[in-house]
């Protein structure tokens, strides 16, 4: 029950701004989670590969370049194609409100924007993973 949450943090696309994802990685680790950081410039296929191999509960994606409406759907498609769509996908970046709503409709569990406290992301992930695990038990 008290198994550690495993999360893959990834930077897709060409964007190299990694301050945010590194702060999130440190905060998740301090909160007792197992964090795997992919490094920069991962393709959607590389991200989903790593998620399956590492058997993670969730994938967190950070995009600050404005390419979020291309890259998030590409990761979602890849997850579906590989039968990995039970993994929770969430993310953060410079993402306007309208896009955020649309992405959440497509299946991104949550988008965090600048100023969001790391505590909020930690609470979100704990809750999402717990509810996923209780769903799995019922099945």
């Amino acid at each position: 029950m008290n198994q550690k949450i495993r999360v893959l943090l990834a930077k897709p696309g060409l964007d190299g701004h990694d301050r945010g994802i590194k702060v999130i990685a440190a905060a998740f680790r301090d909160a007792g989670m197992e964090v795997i950081y992919s490094g920069l410039r991962q393709t959607p296929a590389m991200i989903v590969d790593a998620a399956i191999q590492e058997d993670v509960d969730a994938i967190g994606v950070s995009i600050l370049s404005g390419a979020h409406m291309t890259l998030f759907p590409a990761v979602l498609d890849e997850m579906k194609a590989r039968g990995a769509d039970d993994i929770i996908l969430f993310g953060g970046g410079i993402i306007p409100d309208d896009d955020k709503t649309e992405l959440e409709k497509m299946g991104v569990a949550r988008i965090f924007t600048p100023g969001a406290p790391t505590e909020e992301a930690i609470a979100f992930l704990r809750e999402a993973v717990a509810s996923k695990k209780s769903d799995e038990k019922m099945m």
Partner: protein, 565 residues
């Protein structure tokens, strides 16, 4: 500055003063007083706080006069009284045609300086039709694939009349080669071409992470280009040694100062090793710093930067031309300090940051727009940002006199402290084997990540207040700022255009020039000349970078080294 007797007497007075102050301190528990970088600040600064100020030569040695060594007070004798700082707003968007129209507008409004932002595929050396470029074309700057794009942007702008700044690093040589090819077609001799390339690859490994090749061949690309420009394009500023991105990635003010100048010294040493005379290239080096929110800390940082650069260039690198000692710099306000919450408040943040840059003696300034945590700036937000600079220049009165804060006990003490702390970093970098070794072992990257996390913790534990974020929050805030969007047709059009150019150009000539570039890269000839040849015949940024990727390999950050602490 002050004689010993005076300082001794002051120490006595201070002891008495402290007893009185202690009574007030006892009454109320006080929070910690520290800068945004985490440096503790004293309650009071007096002449006794300025170390060495009781020595006769203190003023001449450490402060001096503006326009004179060690340039603490500025690089010009008269500073803004003769010429205001250049208000250089960075722009670039969508297709080359859109950027061209924007530049024409700026020139029609009386501007003489252009500043170009490129999109991520261009910055990373991929053509618009490369699969990795999908979704990124024209998003955060203009897409340039071949000379054809550069001709659209600059073709009818007289390149002997404007100065152009190009924010590009890994493929900087390719973009300069294309720019020079446009000048050639206009009949403008290279000696008349003016501008600046960012071309600072070291800070890419440290902070912004837009690298392509490993550090050592990247440095060769830069020294080859410096050699070419020294001979043929003497008015070109070859490197803008940048702390801006280092700060944005989480550095403290001292880390920004120390790592940036260490990078600068690394370029100087590399060019000297490549056989160049320091006075031939050093006058064409410039710097680029961040203006963050801690007002006095920033001002002290700029003053310390000038003094450190002058001392090292003169004493360590033995430069004889005073122009080689000068640290000229551009400033941009801190993007990372802007908040998505109550974004209008950002106008005030930017104004204070810009003021610190001006009081620190900057040569040029970019003020950020209030909406940059939401998207690229809208026209209205960009206009307010420019107006902010004009209000500082024409209404505040701060430009009336040179370095008005000199002699402030606090500012001088802080300037000295930052210089001393930067020197400690230089010694540590040296101990670890130099800048390149520090990059490879992840020293800078780890220092930055730790500072960024410390800052975030301070906000979340309420030790630090950010207005609108962890205090003075508006519940159910509705953002009422219009957000700029880039049309997705930009990407389609650009992809179609580069395909057309690749089909129509003289492909045999492209092949030959790329082959030549490969041979030069494998040997030890000047890569810039080979790149210029490729650019002239419409070889693309992606094709040139691919050749160099094959010869030199691609750089991948060593995550294991970065995570082990």
């Amino acid at each position: 500055m002050f004689n010993k007797k005076f300082i001794d007497k002051l120490q006595g007075n201070l002891a008495k003063w402290n007893q009185e102050a202690e009574k007030t301190r006892q009454k109320k528990s006080m929070p910690r007083f520290f800068t945004i970088s985490g440096t503790d600040i004293d309650e009071l600064y007096t002449p006794a706080s300025v170390k060495g100020a009781d020595q006769d030569d203190y003023y001449d040695k450490n402060i001096g006069l503006p326009g004179e060594y060690p340039y603490t007070r500025g690089v010009h004798h008269t500073l803004y009284r003769t010429r205001l700082w250049t208000m250089r707003q960075f722009a670039g968007m969508g297709t080359p045609k859109q950027t061209h129209d924007r530049f024409k507008y700026i020139l029609e409004q009386g501007g003489t300086g252009l500043s170009t932002a490129f999109d991520l595929p261009t910055l990373m050396g991929y053509d618009s039709d490369h699969p990795r470029s999908l979704g990124e074309v024209g998003k955060c700057g203009v897409a340039v694939d071949t000379l054809a794009d550069m001709e659209i942007i600059f073709g009818d702008i007289d390149l002997s009349k404007v100065s152009t700044s190009m924010t590009i690093n890994s493929p900087a040589s390719m973009l300069l080669a294309m720019y020079l090819s446009v000048a050639e077609k206009q009949g403008v001799p290279f000696e008349k071409v003016r501008g600046t390339l960012q071309n600072d690859i070291l800070k890419e490994y440290i902070a912004q992470k837009e690298f392509i090749f490993p550090p050592r061949p990247s440095i060769r690309l830069i020294t080859d280009m410096m050699q070419f420009c020294t001979r043929h394009v003497p008015q070109w500023n070859t490197i803008s040694i940048s702390g801006y991105h280092i700060r944005e990635a989480g550095a403290t003010a001292v880390q920004e100062l120390a790592f940036t100048l260490a990078d600068g010294f690394c370029y100087v040493e590399s060019a000297i090793e490549a056989g160049m005379d320091v006075d031939d290239f050093a006058p064409r080096l410039s710097h680029f710093f961040n203006a963050h929110s801690d007002f006095f800390e920033e001002i002290a940082k700029y003053r310390a930067a000038r003094r450190i650069w002058a001392r090292h260039m003169k004493e360590k690198y033995k430069a004889k031309n005073p122009k080689s000692w000068l640290l000229r710099f551009h400033t941009q306000t801190a993007g990372c300090s802007l908040t998505a919450q109550q974004p209008e408040n950002n106008i005030v943040r930017v104004a204070l940051q810009a003021l610190s840059g001006v009081l620190g003696g900057t040569q040029s300034l970019h003020t950020n727009s209030m909406d940059e945590t939401l998207a690229l700036p809208s026209e209205k937000a960009a206009l307010i940002a420019l107006r902010t600079q004009q209000i500082i220049a024409y209404e505040s009165g701060v430009a009336n006199t040179v370095d008005p804060l000199a002699g402030s006990y606090f500012v001088e003490a802080l300037t000295d402290k930052m210089e001393a702390e930067a020197e400690e970093y230089f010694a540590e970098i040296e101990r670890r084997g130099g800048v390149l070794a520090c990059i490879e072992e992840g020293f800078f990257q780890k220092e930055l990540a730790q500072s960024a996390y410390r800052f975030q913790r301070e906000i979340e534990t309420d030790e630090r207040k950010i207005v609108g974020v962890n205090d003075f929050v508006l519940e159910n805030e509705e953002i009422e700022i219009p957000v700029l969007r880039i049309d997705h047709r930009v990407e389609k059009d650009q992809v179609a255009f580069v395909k057309k150019i690749k089909a129509e150009r003289d492909n045999a000539a492209v092949h030959t020039s790329l082959q030549k570039l490969r041979e030069v890269a494998q040997g030890d000839g000047n890569t810039f000349e080979a790149i210029l040849e490729c650019a002239r015949v419409y070889g693309s940024v992606g094709e040139m970078c691919d050749v160099l990727r094959e010869v030199w390999g691609e750089y991948v950050e060593n995550q294991a080294a970065l995570q082990a602490s």
